[in-house]
Amino acid sequence: MKPSRFLLAAGLLLGTAAALSAKEELNLFAWSEYVPQKVLDGFKQETGIEVNYETYASNEELLSKLLAGGAAYDLVQPSDYAAEVMIKQGLLAPLDPALLPNRKNLGAQFRHLPHDPDDRYTVPYMTGTVGIVVNTDVVKDPIRGFRDVFQPKFKDRIVVLNDNREIVTWALYTRGISANAISKENLEQIRPVVADWIKLIKVFDSDSPKTALLNGDVDLGVVWSGEAAILWRENRKFKYVLAEEGAHQFIDVLAIPVAAKHKEAAHKFINYILRPEVSKLISDEFPYTNPNVEARKLLSPEQLANPASYPSEGKLETFHDIGKLAADIDRLMTDLKSGR
């Protein structure tokens, strides 16, 4: 390309960028398969603010990109423990309660959560659990926990989340250890457990673990409750079970990074999402547990009866940040996946 043409092209690009930035926009960085297009369209129609929705598949990915100086994001959607790290590191801006009147719609058990006791930085979006899905047409044995899933007879019939911390946590549960008691010793202790499991697993998939189950490539899965709820909605043969050895819940929240350029738009979006009729749209498409009690009143009895969305269990533990041990978990899993 000739230099003159190069300059011309660069000039055109700059011009376009300037024109674009004049329009109001909101840069949302959130989980994949989690924010319905309908909600983004509705928000744009009402406020004229364009939402740019970028996705990630794990909290670690979000942290990684944010720490690298992802100043472009106005709104992020970490889970509880990732929000905890971000608050500790001063990465989140305090919210303005005056701009969030709809926060009153949230259930009392979703206020003042351990990661943000004063509700200063975060607002719950959706919550869920991680549990076992059984294709009861194929698997006739009773499945109550991880020990029932990871049996040699189910070799190559299992899908699990491609999330190292999750897998390690399930193994800890089978040894009666809590999800947050991660230490080098405990990791050594569960090493043989995970090693055995990995030989039995057919697919690791965090984005859409339901696909392998729907396609008939596997009959058992350890997946996000929302994925399990969609499966149950498709076909009642997919049963959801919270493992008897232990289960944890996750609370995904909305938060505004300190470096956000459109903080007001971000507040508007949070408040919009907290409206019962908007929150219901999220439940319709991604049937996780909705913390918005006013929205729950709008759900059909069938939606509320979905055992994966609204399990009968009481309060479950949540993850806490484990700092550098995340790298040890990764090393352990890489070792074991390589068959060592």
């Binding site: 057919k202 690791f204 998939d205 700092g323 995340a326 390589s338």
Partner: protein, 300 residues
């Protein structure tokens, strides 16, 4: 082109340009090169330098890079697990390259030897898949290979007695995906050198008493070697680092070096270690390139 005309070399530039003219083309050449140099600096040199610096750093509690010198990352790269993964990635890439040569060579040769009018149509067929996104094509393969997929449906409807094959999420699926993705990169360079091959040379081989096998192995293959070498580089190098296919079609079960590096930057938040893996990986490429180049030079 008639088969009897042999290509003549362009006459060598004998006269050196006059003294006063030497300067101007140089300046102009630099000007013309400037965008390319800028591009190289911005997207190759600087990122590589950052990677090299990170690879000697430490990480803090959350995963930020701390600028404190350490060799720990390189020590870790040479732990048996990672060497094993490097080795496995090389084996998969080598297998992919070998299959691509075996499958791609006849295709490329046939296209190059086809009539002019056909050549362009056939080449277009090779390139049509590029009109669709790579990820979409990979998802299409999932639809074909899955247990209740197209291939198994076809097999079971035929009276062959072949049960449903267990293909998706196996190493076979990974190799199928890799060969599919990179085959055109083998076909095109081989086509390039096969097209330049003179019939006269092949005829001369026959006249001198060579059989078809001999003519192929001592005349055709050496003359198309530059194409094979270029294709090998274009397939082997990216195939080692591929992580999307191993994730999607292999079920993320057996990590390749590309997956491990990706994990360091996202899941494990250990950028310095990821950078060290990347640097070693790049050195490996350089060595591969050097070997292939030397082979090519020797053959020539």
């Amino acid at each position: 082109m008639s088969p009897t005309t042999l290509k003549t070399r362009p006459p060598a530039l004998v006269a050196a340009p006059p003294e006063e003219n030497r300067r101007r083309p140089r300046l102009l050449a630099w000007l013309l090169l400037a965008p390319m140099l800028l591009w190289l600096a911005a997207f190759v040199v600087i990122p590589t330098a950052i990677l090299a610096v990170y690879s000697f750093c430490e990480r803090d509690e959350v995963g930020r890079v701390v600028y404190r010198f350490t060799l720990e990352n390189y020590r870790r790269v040479f732990e048996p697990v990672y060497l094993h993964i490097f080795w496995r990635s090389i084996v998969y890439a080598a297998l992919t390259t070998a299959i691509c040569v075996v499958v791609g060579y006849p295709v490329a040769y046939f296209i190059a030897r086809a009539r002019e009018a056909w050549r362009h149509k056939l080449l277009l067929l090779v390139m049509i898949p590029f009109w669709t996104s790579f990820l979409i094509r990979t998802y299409a393969w999932i639809t074909i290979l899955k247990q209740e997929g197209l291939l198994n449906g076809l097999l079971q409807s035929l009276p062959l007695g072949i049960g449903p094959l267990d293909l998706l999420y196996t190493p076979t699926a990974v190799v199928i995906g890799l060969v599919y993705a990179y085959l055109p990169f083998m076909i095109l360079p081989i086509y390039g050198s096969a097209e330049k091959l003179e019939n006269a040379v092949i005829e001369a081989a026959y006249d001198l008493g060579a059989g078809p096998v001999r003519a192929f192995s001592s005349v055709i293959v050496p003359l198309t070697m530059p194409g094979i070498a270029a294709g090998t580089l274009l397939v082997f190098v990216p195939a080692i680092g591929m992580f999307a296919i191993t994730d999607l079609m292999g079920g993320a079960k057996v990590p390749m070096i590309g997956n491990v590096i990706q994990n360091q930057f996202l899941q494990a938040r250990d950028w310095p270690f990821g950078a060290a893996l990347g640097v070693v990986f790049m050195l490996m490429f350089a060595v591969t390139y050097w070997i292939v180049q030397r082979r090519g030079a020797q053959m020539g």
